[in-house]
Amino acid sequence: MKISSFVYSLRQGMKNILRNRFYSLASVATMIVCIFMFGVFSAIVINVNHVVREVEQGVAVVVYFDEGISDQQITAIGDFIRGREEVADATYVSPEEAWAQFAPVYFGDEDPELAKELMEGFAEDNPLINSANYQIHLKDVSKQDQLVKAISGLEGVRRVDSNDSVADVLTHFNSLLGYLSVGVVILLFAVAVFLISNTVAVGIAVRKEEIGIMKLIGATDLFIRAPFIFEGVILGLVGSGIPLLILALIYGKLDDLLRTKFGMLSGVVTLVSSGEIFRYLVPISLLIGVGIGFLGSMITIRKHLKV
């Protein structure tokens, strides 16, 4: 297709859209809802995944030993833990290190001098003498249960602590949300395809005579179809561009709000940066928009435009 024909078809496609304003508007509105929902679900899923990853990066499992356990036994337990495939790494924390980690929390850090003095009082009498442990990072939080079971059965292990609930709940929530969003979005996309295909069908009906003349004059199939394909694709692009802009605005505002007004939450709840979210969301949404537009118009063209 020549550039001039491309431009001509593009213009005709836009004319079709303006001519069938009502249908075009309905299609675009549905697309906006689709892509908006898709965007919201994606943003939630990405953010929850981000939290899960952060939880995973935190210590998931802490293993304490029986009193009087020998160094060899501790090493053997360590080797066993490190040998398991779900384990990312396991660090040994001696009683001294445990106390050094815990004491500042215990004495508070408002008066460092006093804290230091108090700590020195315990220098010869470590209250956490039995608190030597392994701190384990997992590769995948969902495998935490099986690890805990395996370690609990070992000889010399007194207790295994794990913060299973948070990661578990999040993982489950995320997969549930994933399924739900896939379902809703597929349904909406089907509606969007249907509406766009109807819009294009109206366009074809309006231009029936013109199409007949084109065929007799010797227009190629592509030339006859191109304006209707453009029509669908433009509807798809507009219908995905607008919700992306809205999403970007809302997301930015929400991020700002969490950082400023709810500063105390910033340690707990942080949003994935909008740059990171929209780096994926923009191309995927635009692609989906164009795809839906193209699919919608092709369905109609195949049905109503036998050239």
């Binding site: 297709m1 001039s4 005579e209 003349i213 004059i217 010797g218 227009a219 199939d221």
Partner: protein
């Protein structure tokens, strides 16, 4: 230019619309096809444009064998033929210039050539000054002139007109026929399907008469008169 050998076209019901026709029209001829309604004129017209496939027989138009022609080759083939209809079939929402340019645009002519050819086509039918007018601002005769200009603008080897004077008064009908005759004199083959008795009788051109799907007469300087 047109060769039909033993061509028949049967629809699923009834007698064949075209029945074993042999027809040969040479380059540069002016030919009328006449006959009563249901004689098979429209079917013949559509067969020549490859809008319909013959049930049997072979058709060659402008040197191209239609039977073996692939679907994607049809558009290029049709560019050899300018088609004119009884109801003009102009695009009502576009002015005269755009109507003619449309014919060039759909065959992907360059914009420069369009700018050069359209004014020429408009003046060849005597409507150069009215290029901005919309079709419904024109008389029937003028609209048909524009339709002819549109058919001519891509330099076809053959002009096929289906009842081109059907919607026109006698004066306008004559003018359209004169225009087609002028086009023919410049070398374009012209095929006119018509009911217009006076014109056919007066123009003394080759006349092929169809009846019940068969050619019942083919006269060099014929007319309707023998039917009476």
């Amino acid at each position: 230019m047109i060769h039909m050998d033993n061509v028949s076209k049967a629809y699923s019901t009834g007698n064949p619309a075209v029945n074993d026709i042999n027809l040969h029209i040479e380059k540069g001829e002016f030919v009328f096809i006449i006959g009563p309604s249901g004689a098979g004129k429209t079917t013949l017209f559509k067969l020549l444009l490859k809008e319909l496939e013959p049930t049997s027989g072979t058709i060659t138009v402008a040197g191209q064998e239609l039977n073996s022609m692939k679907r994607r080759q049809i558009p290029k083939f049709r560019r050899n033929i300018g088609v004119v209809f009884q109801d003009f079939r102009l695009l009502k929402d576009r002015n005269l210039y755009e109507n003619i340019a449309f014919a060039q645009r759909v065959v992907e002519t360059s914009s420069r050539k369009i700018r050069r050819d359209v004014p020429q086509a408009l003046s060849s039918v005597g409507l150069a000054e009215r290029y901005k007018a919309l079709p419904n601002e024109l008389s029937g005769g003028e609209q048909q002139r524009i339709a002819i200009a549109r058919a001519l603008v891509n330099d076809p080897q053959l002009i096929m007109a289906d009842e081109p004077t059907g919607n026109l008064d006698a004066q306008n009908a004559w003018e359209i026929m004169k225009l087609l005759e002028e086009i023919n004199e410049k070398g374009t083959t012209v095929l006119v399907v018509t009911h217009n008795r006076e014109i056919v009788d007066a123009m003394k051109k080759r006349v092929i008469t169809l009846e019940d799907g068969k050619i019942i007469s083919d006269e060099k300087e014929g007319g309707y008169s023998h039917e009476d």
